[in-house]
């Protein structure tokens, strides 16, 4: 799917628990048409071994929100990437009473750093230079 600026993506249930998600490191993305014939897939798969493996894992190279995208983002459109800001809102399972307000900025910062472990398993990738 394509995330447009100013959009809100919501996912839950099946999409939250049974699917992984990722963003490929790339300088641009292409909007994909709805997948129709098997033949197209076969052609795509034959393009390269990599693409074949990817097509199989990804289930379908179809832009799943094509029908909700703006008019400039029809099938076939190529979308250059820029700096992107995302705001991810979640609700934690476990909460406890609020702590005292941190005495110093350093203390607050140390607290934030303690959270870094949660992101250690996520590896960032940059696209190859143009």
């Amino acid at each position: 799917m394509v995330l447009e600026p100013r959009s809100l993506l919501v996912f839950e249930d099946e999409a939250y628990h049974n699917w992984y998600h990722s963003i490929e490191a790339a300088h641009q993305d292409t909007v994909h048409a709805r997948r129709r014939a098997r033949r197209r897939c076969a052609w795509r798969a034959a393009a390269s071994a990599n693409a074949a493996a990817r097509a199989a894992r990804q289930v379908a190279s179809e832009t799943a929100n094509l029908h909700l995208l703006g008019p400039t983002r029809a099938a076939g459109a190529v979308l250059p990437r820029g700096t992107r800001l995302s705001l991810t809102f979640r609700q934690v399972r476990a909460r406890r009473a609020a702590e005292r307000v941190f005495a110093t900025p350093a203390e607050a910062d140390a607290r934030r750093r303690a959270a870094s472990q949660f992101d250690d398993a996520i590896f960032d990738r940059g696209a190859a230079p143009r």
Partner: protein
């Protein structure tokens, strides 16, 4: 936590916002995923970006992206002690909470991610620290988000350690050690 005195909205326009419509906003092929275009206006987007740029909240550098956390430090064992959001971000939190996503959806944690041009993020799930629901506001650039079915890793493909484990139909084991789990989307 005591709320700061009410102040004039800084980044979002007052007034109603088109709520989530689970039919109209549904994705094809993937159940449980919804997409609301134009959740914020171009003017609102500009003000949000300016507010984030002007804020002195520290970023954590992750290489190709950098991030801020707001709302507290999630922890499976001790629980998260809620911390107040910066006012501009709290406006957005309130708008998302009021977006008709669910009466039981009261987001209290925000991950702010700034992706550099060309960067991506590896395959992950958002995990068990959170109730199984997430809302992601995208700003400033498009990006393609790929979804990958969890089941049956292929030959030579390893499921990432720390990914959640299905134990029983419809029930999942919570991560008791609070290990690597939270992700970004």
């Amino acid at each position: 936590m005591k709320q700061a005195p009410a102040r004039a909205p800084a980044v979002l326009d007052p007034g109603p916002r088109a709520p989530l419509d689970r039919q109209r906003h549904a994705l094809t092929m993937l159940s449980g995923a919804f997409y609301i275009p134009d959740f914020v206006s171009a003017q609102e987007e500009e003000r949000i970006l300016a507010a984030v740029a002007a804020s002195d909240e520290p970023w954590q550098d992750m290489g190709m992206r950098r991030l801020q956390r707001h709302g507290g430090v999630p922890c499976a064992v001790e629980g998260m002690a809620p911390e107040p959001f910066p006012p501009a971000l709290d406006e957005i939190r309130a708008a998302v909470a009021g977006a008709g996503i669910g009466a039981d959806f009261a987001p209290d944690f925000l991950l702010l991610n700034e992706y550099r041009e060309g960067s991506g993020i590896s395959r992950h799930k958002d995990g068990e620290l959170y109730r199984g629901r997430v809302a992601v506001l995208s700003l400033a650039s498009t990006a393609q988000l790929d979804f990958w079915r969890h089941k049956q890793p292929r030959e030579g493909e390893k499921v990432r350690p720390g990914s959640s484990t299905r134990t029983r139909r419809g029930r999942r084991r919570a991560d008791a050690d609070g290990g690597p789990r939270a992700g970004a989307a």
